[in-house]
């Protein structure tokens, strides 16, 4: 539920609760006012009638449905007048008016008289109906106005909040954000806090990234030095023991430089250095990579089943496309068994590579983490699948890894946005024809 709706509901709840109370008060006040005015008038009428009677002029002057009667009393009561209100003068519960009767006790020409005048005033139900009408309209108006204006107001007042949310939503660790100016105290506080937090995050991220990038780059030179010296050393006169020591060193250096290169690559992808500018024919990449691995497939005597659809275009940087295919196919070959099988399926919406191999020792999804290997002592660096995952993140693809004995199944789902659909292609081609 939106904030504005909560406020609106609360407000309307308050109105709904207070309205009957105020209506009741209103009704009472109006009735009392009418009664008071009428009683005062009737009293005057009584007095005037009594005066006329004393003069000996005619008394019974009907006047706006009120009339005055004189009743001779044995004695004057204690109070000087009595008021009666009859809510149902017609006795049928449908009266539209109630009768107000005022009796004044006074002495006229020496005799005690009760002078009584009645008049009709609107029945309280009538007044109530009128009030209910009004209240209904009022409520309707208030609800409409509140609902509309609250939305409008919240648009205005919460606009800055919404901008802030949007900024936070699109927050990227790579750059600081500035929050919109606002004069609402709470939002000011929120923005200040968020600014502090995001700036700190950006600074720390940048520092860490810088460090790792610098470290990786700085490592390149010493690695090159060690490798060069080892190569020179292996050409000097050495005996077998020394040779095997050198071989181990070579090996370690090789691994180190591979790790380093992969880490540099990963950080480059994180820095979006592989922005997509055009689309490429992924089917061609797949074919090329398969061709490049031909010799190694032969050596392990691996049967390759291909189902490559033609003309599959994707939005992906060519370097990444190459790397993705290389890593996946390389893994499929490397973790395969002698005389194994690889099944490559490329369709408009997905790439699936199935291969035979030993069952994985770790849960398959964990293998996408950096330095995770199915077999810890294996020769691999453990970054291949991390790179695959990163490539898929950069391109908005989904990648999954399942093992259904005896097959390892790696599937990459291309996102709808990265697939160039047929209609677009046709347009593209007709455009090409037209320009041609």
């Amino acid at each position: 539920m939106k904030l504005v709706d909560k406020f609106t509901l609360w407000f309307l709840g308050v109105i709904v609760i207070t309205t009957p109370i105020t209506s009741y008060i209103c009704l009472n006040n109006i009735e009392r006012k009418i009664d008071d005015v009428e009683i005062a008038r009737l009293k005057i009428v009584n007095t005037k009638a009594a005066a006329r009677m004393a003069d000996g002029t005619t008394v019974n002057i009907p006047r706006d449905a009120s009339f005055t009667t004189f009743t001779l009393l044995p004695a004057l009561p204690a109070d000087s007048f009595r008021i009666r209100k009859d809510a149902d003068p017609d006795g049928n519960h449908k009266s539209l008016e109630s009768r107000l009767t005022v009796s004044t006790f006074m002495t006229i020409n020496g005799k005690p008289y009760e002078v009584t005048t009645s008049s009709y005033i609107p029945a309280s139900r009538q007044i109530l109906n009128a009030i209910m009408d009004t209240v209904a309209w009022k409520l309707l108006l208030i609800i409409v106005c509140v609902a509309v204006s609250a939305r409008f107001l919240s648009q205005r007042i919460l606009h800055t909040l919404r901008l802030t949310m949007k900024k936070i939503h699109n927050f990227d660790l790579k750059k600081k954000i500035t929050f919109p100016q606002t004069n609402t105290e709470e939002f000011k506080e929120l923005n200040t806090f968020l600014k502090k937090m995001t700036d700190k995050a950006v600074e720390e991220y940048t520092a860490v990234k810088q460090f790792s990038e610098n470290a990786s780059h700085e490592l390149q030179t010493p690695l090159a030095v060690i490798r060069g010296k080892l190569e020179l050393l292996s050409e000097t006169n050495i005996d077998e023991d020394q040779a095997s020591l050198l071989a181990d060193m070579h090996h370690a250096i090789e691994k180190l430089s591979k790790i380093n290169r992969s880490l540099i690559l990963l950080s480059k992808m994180e820095n979006n250095e592989f922005a997509v500018t055009e689309h490429i024919k992924f089917c061609r990449v797949a074919k090329d990579v398969l061709a490049a691995y031909e010799d190694r497939l032969e050596m392990k005597n691996i049967q390759v089943k291909r189902e490559l659809d033609k003309n599959i275009q994707l939005r992906i940087h060519p370097v990444l496309a190459d790397m993705l295919m290389n890593n996946l196919l390389g893994n499929a070959i490397r973790h395969n068994v002698q005389d194994g099988m690889i099944h490559v399926i490329l369709k408009q919406e997905k790439l699936v590579i199935k291969n035979t191999g030993l069952p994985p020792e770790t849960p398959t999804e964990e293998l996408f983490e950096r330095f995770r290997k199915s077999n810890q002592c294996s020769e691999s660096v453990g970054l291949g699948l991390a790179i695959v995952k990163q490539i898929c993140e950069v391109c908005d693809f989904k990648v999954s890894y399942k093992y259904k004995a005896p097959l390892h199944i790696l599937q990459v789902d291309f996102c709808p946005g990265s697939v160039i659909n047929e209609a677009e292609q046709d347009k593209f081609e007709t455009a090409a024809v037209v320009t041609a």
Binding site: H217, Q220, T221, V225, G228, E231, S234, L246, G330, S380
Partner: protein
Amino acid sequence: MKVLVVEDSKEIASSIHDFLVREGYICELAYSFDEAQEKLLLYSYDCVLLDIMLPDGNGLELLKFMKDQGIQSGVLIISAKDAMDDKIRGLEGGGDDYITKPFHLPELHARLRAIYRRKKLSGSNIITFNEITLNTDTLEATINDILLDITRKEFDLLLYLVVNKNRVLSRQSIATHLWGDYTDNLANFDFVYQHIKNLRKKISAANGADYIDTVYGLGYKFNASKV
């Protein structure tokens, strides 16, 4: 061949120097932009090994300088950044080839030779060693004028061995040369071993001398002194 190595890291420069001198090349070193400029103006070189990241200037500017001065040396760019744009800029700026640190010295040498062949030997595409002849255009190898039936990979391997004759070539360096950077996730050694084995078979089938030695624990060597 006369080579100028422009590289600020003294150890790398000295490694390259030692390697190339053993090959019989004349090799000079420049540790900075200014030094390199000076040497390029005073002397002429067949090839320049150029590190892009120099303490007092960018190697790309040195490329521009060479262009402006009309210096015709071949250029092999060395860089620690294997960034695509760097590569492209370097090659567009007049570099002939590109290699990234950390590299294998034999690989550097093979690329240097290729540049030298293209640039200085007026695109000569024939490399001859004793009875072996390699044609880098047609990718044909002959032994005593008999055409060897070898694959592209085997041709590359033989060329690599011949160019780096009498050198110990580690399996890693051979693998990197043949399959590029995507060797990371493959057990290369078996593949290198297989390729070497096939190549030796084919050479001996054509009555060529068995030049390829296995150096225990380290790799292979094209032994030129075998007859």
